[in-house]
Amino acid sequence: MNALRASPALKAGLISVLLLAALLGLWQIAATPRGGGPAVDPEYAKLVGKEAAGGQKSAMPTPVEVGRKLWEHVTDPFYVRGTNDQGIGIQLGWSIGRVLLGFTLAALLAIPLGFVIGMSPLVYRALDPFIQVLKPVSPLAWMPLALYTIKHSGTASIFVIFICSMWPMLINTAFGVMSVRKEWLNVARTLEVRPLRRAFTVVLPAAAPTIMIGMRISVGIAWLVIVAAEMLVGGTGIGYFVWNEWNNLSIANILTAILLIGLVGLVLDQALAWLTRLVTYPE
């Protein structure tokens, strides 16, 4: 009775927990090995090993195994045992570093350029064809070009992040600047505010929420793309870790990585959401 009268947030939380428990339960049942498989040819069993032949032990781990793996990684995230065996914290650190670097470089170019595009209809029309053609290109399509020209795999993946975080920031900045209310600009005009001061004191604060939304979309896309980019170039990073564990057929490690990738993405998104709230103004 009390649960029914509880707040919606509590109810939603309760449903989430129940769903999680149900999913984990189903998973546990599905992944638990069952005895008494079909009869196996002893020659074949000798060849591939008893377990694999009988199909008793699947490569799919149970939630408990994944939990144990996750705990191992969380309690010792920063070990280094050779180039291919490094802690998940180090791998995530590489990926976050690349994303932040590529994203920051993109912001440094996209926001000023978007500002100019938004301010000048001429520049907008001149650059629009380029943006329209380049924007739908998958960022990974740039990878061979980047590898060829930069000749450094780590830098190439940063470049790919740079390219893919450009577009949402560029377009949102231009749109935000273009849609600054005319009356605010008229106020600035009647006060004879010089262009530079107008850009920083009127246009920028007015467009800031839209720009921040672009940044939030960008960081989300960058975090999606980094995993794929690191799978391609290898070496370090969480994407490489996932691919490496696929080669090791360690599904428990892969699932751990998936969970952590999701959590880092959430943190990045919420950080930008918090910054957006700081610059948003009620009208």
Partner: protein, 306 residues
């Protein structure tokens, strides 16, 4: 005494090209001549679509007329100026700035070299003038419509302009708030001897505030039909106004114009004697009521300036 007017509108016109690119242009208004003396409060009344806001924007320098010039303090207007402050209908406050921030922004625009403290003190003085002392840290979203418009007035006055341009500043407010703000404007303009040009729909507002009321015919092709001199003595008090014998004569004259004559003014022009450069100045307040409806008393142009 022939004093040069502070503002002189000469042969102003606004035309829009036809939408298809062919055919005749649409003329919103044309041949608008008007002068405003220093310290004068002039109201412009007319129906929607006669180009009132365009005239105000041209005075502000925000819009370029198709024809004609505006001379302000001896110089042709070719863009916005700090000498002509605008109070916008929609208050146009920057929502990310506080009340103080909005006013200080204007003060800093006027006096670049001032110190932070000086700007703050100056802005606070005008915030106090409009009765918003104590609300200076609030954001516009936390203010009522009337308070927002007070900030707009404080911002416009704080730059100490030669002239104040108001575009239906109170039309978005409820009647009670409108009344209080009108009283404030009467008080502030009395104190500062501010020159004001204001657009309004509201006849009573015009009678309360204006020294002269400019009447425009209906658009397209609108013109200034005549200028009504407000003969009610100053200071005018809203609650006492209707007791004065001139009040209803002026009010009826204005109403009469808006209801019928603004549409049929072409015929009065055709009858002859109308000079767009010198639209007739009438004093319906002094006329006998019977005379007003049929035959407005025409007085020669004020001061013989032109």
């Amino acid at each position: 005494m022939t004093m040069r007017p502070l503002i002189s509108v000469e042969g102003l016109a606004k035309r829009f090209p036809p939408p298809s690119g062919r055919g005749p242009a649409t003329t919103v208004f044309e041949d608008v001549w008007l002068s405003i003396d220093k310290g004068e409060f002039v109201c412009l009344i007319g129906h929607s679509g006669c180009g009132k806001t365009t005239i105000l924007n041209a005075l502000a320098g925000l819009e370029t007329p198709s024809d004609g010039v505006i001379v302000a303090a001896g110089q042709a207007v070719d863009g916005p100026s700090l000498d002509r402050a605008v109070i916008f209908q929609s208050h146009a406050l920057m929502p990310w700035m506080s009340v103080l921030g909005n006013v200080a922004f204007a003060v800093k625009s006027r006096w670049h070299g001032w110190s932070r403290d000086k700007i703050r003190a100056h802005a606070l003085r005008y915030i106090e003038l409009v009765g918003l002392k104590g609300a200076e840290a609030k954001k516009p979203a936390q203010l009522s419509g009337g308070m927002k418009q007070r900030v707009g007035i404080a911002r416009a006055l704080s730059i100490e302009p030669k002239m104040l341009l108001m575009d239906e500043p109170f039309s978005a407010l409820d009647a009670l708030t409108r009344g209080t703000l009108q009283d404030e404007v009467v008080r502030i303009c009395g104190e500062t001897e501010q020159t004001v040009f204001m657009i309004t729909h509201d006849i009573d507002e015009a009678i309360l505030l204006a020294d002269r009321i400019v009447l425009m015919t209906n658009g397209p092709g609108a013109r200034i039909a005549e200028v009504v001199v407000n003969t009610l003595p100053k200071p005018r008090v809203r609650t006492e106004l209707h007791r004065h014998p001139h009040y209803y004569r002026i009010r009826n004259h204005l109403l009469d114009f808006l209801v019928t004559r603004s549409k049929s003014f072409e015929r009065e022009i055709a009858a002859g004697g109308y000079d767009p450069r010198r639209p007739p100045q009438v004093r319906p307040g002094e006329a006998e009521p019977a005379l007003v409806a049929s035959n407005p008393v025409i007085v020669s142009a004020k001061g013989g300036a032109r």
